[in-house]
C-alpha cells in the first residue's frame, strides 16, 4: 500500500468513525449512563432516517430536517422511557434481561409500523452535499462523510459539556448508580432519567438524518446496526461521550485500513477482534470506570 493510499485510508476512516460515533452517542447515554438495555436504539435511528425522508419529500434539507425532528424525538424518548419505567423500573426485579427482551419487542413493532407506512423499498434523499466531494489538502473526501464527522464532533462536545458542567448533567451520570441517593440530593430520579432518555432519543433524529444521507435505508436496517452501535458504546467504556467518539474513530480507521489493503471481506472480523483485544486489556472499555 502506498503512503498516499494509507493517508487517504486513515482520513476516510476518521470520517467514517465520526459517523459510527454519531449513531452510537444516544446509546452511550441511554445504555451507558442510564443502564437501560436499549436494543431498539438502532431501530430509532431508522425511524429518524425515515422521518428525515418524509420531510425531505416536502423539500426540506435533510440535515435541517434532522434538527427539526429533535424536539419530536425528545418527546418520543420521554414517552418510551415512561412506558419502560412504569412497566419495569417501578416494579423492580431482574430488569436488565427483561428490558432487553422488551426493547427487542419494541424494535420489531416499530419495524412493522415502518413497513406499513413506508413500504419495504430502499429510500434515499437528495441534497447538494450528497454525491459531491471536497478537496482537502490534496485528498478528495465525500461531503456527506465530512458532515457526518462534523456533526459527530459537535454532538460529542455538546453532550460531554452538558454532562460534566451542569447539575442535571451530573445527575444523569449518577442516576443509574443509586436512585435513592439521588433523590436524597433533591433530584427526581425518574425525571432525570426521562430527560436523559429524551436527549438520547433526540440524537437519533440527527443520527438518523446522517444514516439516510450516507446511504439508502430500509425498515429492517436497524438489525444491522445492533452489533456496531453496542460495540462502539462498550468499547468506549459505558457512558463516556469522548470515549464514544474515540471508539468510533478507532473502528472507522481499522475498517478503512482493512478495506483499502487486501482482504476486504475480513473487515468485520478485524473490527470485532479489536474489540475483544481492547476488552482483554481494559475489561471496562477505553474510558470505563
Amino acid at each position: 500500500m502506498s503512503l498516499e493510499l494509507l493517508v487517504e485510508a486513515v482520513v476516510s476512516g476518521i470520517l467514517l468513525g465520526g459517523f459510527y460515533a454519531a449513531v452510537s452517542l444516544g446509546l452511550s447515554v441511554a445504555f451507558g449512563l442510564l443502564d437501560v438495555p436499549h436494543i431498539a436504539h438502532p431501530t430509532l435511528l431508522v425511524v429518524g432516517a425515515y422521518a428525515t425522508y418524509a420531510l425531505a419529500q416536502l423539500g426540506i434539507d435533510p440535515i435541517a430536517a434532522g434538527f427539526m425532528l429533535m424536539p419530536a424525538f425528545f418527546v418520543i424518548g420521554v414517552g418510551l422511557y415512561r412506558f419502560y419505567h412504569a412497566l419495569f423500573e417501578r416494579r423492580g426485579g431482574d430488569i436488565a434481561l427483561r428490558g432487553l427482551a422488551f426493547f427487542f419487542g419494541i424494535a420489531f413493532i416499530i419495524e412493522v409500523v415502518l413497513i406499513l407506512v413506508f413500504g419495504v423499498d430502499q429510500r434515499l434523499v437528495e441534497a447538494a452535499y450528497i454525491g459531491s466531494s471536497v478537496q482537502l489538502a490534496g485528498l478528495q473526501m465525500p461531503s456527506r462523510m465530512l458532515i457526518a464527522f462534523a456533526l459527530a464532533g459537535l454532538l460529542t462536545l455538546l453532550l460531554s459539556t452538558y454532562l460534566s458542567r451542569t447539575f442535571t448533567g451530573r445527575a444523569i451520570k449518577a442516576v443509574a448508580q443509586d436512585q435513592t441517593a439521588l433523590a436524597l440530593m433533591g433530584a427526581d430520579p425518574v425525571r432525570i432519567k426521562q430527560s436523559a432518555f429524551g436527549i438520547a432519543t433526540a440524537t437519533c433524529a440527527i443520527a438518523g438524518a446522517l444514516l439516510i444521507i450516507v446511504g439508502p435505508v430500509e425498515p429492517g436496517m436497524g438489525r444491522l446496526y445492533i452489533g456496531g452501535t453496542f460495540c462502539v458504546a462498550v468499547l468506549a467504556g459505558l457512558g463516556s461521550m469522548k470515549g464514544t467518539l474515540l471508539a468510533g474513530l478507532i473502528l472507522g480507521i481499522t475498517e478503512s485500513l482493512v478495506l483499502t489493503s487486501l482482504g476486504t471481506s475480513w473487515a468485520p472480523a478485524v473490527s470485532f477482534g479489536l474489540l475483544l483485544v481492547v476488552l482483554a486489556i481494559r475489561p471496562s472499555g477505553l474510558f470505563g470506570r
Binding site: S2, G13, L16, D121, L124, S132, M141, P142, G215
Partner: protein, 394 residues
C-alpha cells in the same frame, strides 16, 4: 364464470419474502401474481375452476422454507407450486420437489437445478447461469478494447455467484483481473475501496452488489471518481432497477451499465406487457410497492402464464404432463416467447444490459419512456451503442 366459482379452486402455492431484505422485490412480484390470478379468474379460471393463491411470507430466511413448502404440500395440498423468490431460498425446495417428483417454476433462482437436474423444474429467470448472466458485460468490455478488469462483490450469496461468472467470462476473453475484492454486508463507506481500485487503472469495473451497496457505490464513484482509464462501469448491481433508488440517484446514474430484465425500450415491447404494467402501476401505490415494476413483476406474471398455458393445453393438473408440455412447447408470455432446455432454463438467455443516459434529477417519470435506459447488449435486443463511461457522464 359464476359456474367456476362454485367449483373447488385450483390452488397455487408458494412463499415470497414480504419482510426482510428480499421483501422489496418480493412484494412487487406478489402483486404481479395476484394480478395474474385476477386475470385468469376473469377469463374463467383454469380448467373451469377458480385459481387461488396460497402465499406465505418466508421472511427472507431460508430456514423457514422447508416448513412452509411442507405445509403447502402436506396440509394445503396445493395443485401447483412456484418457488420462493431468490436462489438461496429455492435451494431447500429443490430436493423436496425432486423427491416427490413435482413441477416447480423457480422464481428468479439462478442455476438452482444444477446439482439435482430435476426434470420438472423450470426457471423464470431469463439467464441460465452466472456465466451467461455476466457474458454480455464482458462482450461490451471487449468491444471497448478493455483488458484490465476490476471486480467488486458483496460477501453474500447472489453477488458471489455472479462474481464467479464474471471471473470466468473475463478469463475466457483473455482479460486480466487487476482487482478482485469482496466487501462485507453493511459496508457504509466505499471510498477506501474505490481508491485502492483506482490505483490499479482498470478498463472495466464489474460490481455485484445489493440495493444499499449499489446506491452507495454509485454515489462514491461520483464523489471519488474511478479514474480516466475506466471505460465501462456497472455489472450486476441489484437495486438499480428499483424506482425509489433510480429516482433518488437520478443523474448520478448516467453512464452506468447494469444488467436488467425489462425496460421500456422498443425491442422489448412484447404483447401484453404494457397493459400489464399499466394495471400493475395502478395498484402499486396501494400495495406500497415499487411504482414502476420493471424488474420482477413482468416475470412473475409470466410464471402464471407458463402454468396457465400448460394447464389449458394439457387440460390437466398432472405434473408429468405439464412438465412434458413445458419442455416441448414454446410458451408465450408478456416477456416474450420462452423455450426451456432440458435443465428447465431458458434455452436463449435474455439478460439485458442497459446504459443509463441523459438522466435528470428528481424525476421518476423520465424512466417510463425509451432512451433513458438504452439496451446496449445483447445484440438481439440492442437499442443503442455503448458509450464509454466518461463520455456518457458528461
Amino acid at each position: 364464470s359464476a359456474h367456476a366459482q362454485e367449483k373447488k379452486p385450483v390452488r397455487v402455492g408458494f412463499s415470497i419474502a414480504q419482510t426482510g431484505p428480499l421483501s422489496g422485490a418480493g412484494k412487487s412480484g406478489l402483486l404481479a401474481l395476484q394480478i395474474w390470478r385476477d386475470d385468469v379468474n376473469g377469463r374463467g379460471g383454469l380448467l373451469g375452476r377458480p385459481v387461488e393463491l396460497i402465499v406465505y411470507d418466508d421472511q427472507s430466511n431460508a430456514a423457514t422454507v422447508p416448513g412452509i413448502y411442507s405445509k403447502l404440500l402436506d396440509v394445503d395440498k396445493v395443485d401447483l407450486l412456484i418457488g420462493p423468490y431468490s436462489s438461496n431460498l429455492t435451494a431447500p425446495v429443490m430436493p423436496m420437489v425432486k423427491q416427490r417428483n413435482l413441477l416447480l417454476i423457480g422464481n428468479f433462482a439462478l442455476d438452482a437445478n444444477a446439482r439435482l437436474r430435476h426434470d420438472k423444474y423450470f426457471s423464470s429467470l431469463p439467464s441460465a447461469s452466472a456465466d451467461q448472466w455476466a457474458a454480455p458485460f464482458f462482450d461490451l468490455a471487449k468491444q471497448l478494447q478493455g483488458k484490465a478488469v476490476a471486480l467488486l462483490a458483496a460477501d453474500a450469496e447472489f453477488a458471489q455467484t455472479l462474481a464467479g461468472g464474471a471471473r470466468n467470462e473475463a478469463k475466457k476473453r483473455g482479460m486480466q483481473l487487476v482487482y478482485d475484492q469482496t466487501y462485507p454486508p453493511a459496508t457504509v463507506d466505499f471510498s477506501s475501496m474505490l481508491r485502492a481500485l483506482r490505483v490499479k487503472q482498470p478498463d472495466a469495473i464489474f460490481v455485484a452488489g445489493y440495493p444499499s451497496d449499489s446506491a452507495a457505490i454509485v454515489r462514491a464513484v461520483k464523489e471519488i471518481g474511478v479514474g480516466d482509464s475506466v471505460k465501462l462501469f456497472g455489472g450486476g448491481m441489484v437495486g438499480l432497477q428499483n424506482a425509489p433508488v433510480m429516482q433518488s440517484l437520478g443523474s448520478t446514474l448516467n453512464g452506468v451499465v447494469n444488467y436488467h430484465t425489462w425496460v421500456p425500450e422498443k425491442s422489448l415491447e412484447f404483447p401484453g406487457v404494457s397493459s400489464f404494467l399499466a394495471r400493475y402501476q395502478a395498484r402499486a401505490k396501494d400495495a406500497n410497492v415499487d411504482a414502476l415494476g420493471y424488474y420482477l413483476p413482468p416475470f412473475n406474471y409470466a410464471i402464471g402464464q407458463m402454468l396457465e398455458q400448460a394447464v389449458t393445453a394439457t387440460k390437466s393438473l398432472d405434473h408429468k404432463l405439464l412438465a412434458k408440455y413445458l419442455h416441448d412447447n414454446a410458451i408465450n408470455t408478456i416477456v416474450g416467447t420462452v423455450r426451456f432446455n432440458e435443465m428447465g432454463e431458458w434455452s436463449q438467455s435474455r439478460m439485458i444490459y442497459i446504459q443509463f443516459r441523459a438522466l435528470a434529477d428528481k424525476n421518476l417519470d423520465q424512466f417510463r419512456g425509451p432512451g433513458k435506459q438504452v439496451v446496449v447488449a445483447p445484440a438481439a435486443h440492442k437499442t443503442g451503442d455503448i458509450v464509454p463511461f466518461a463520455a456518457a457522464r458528461k
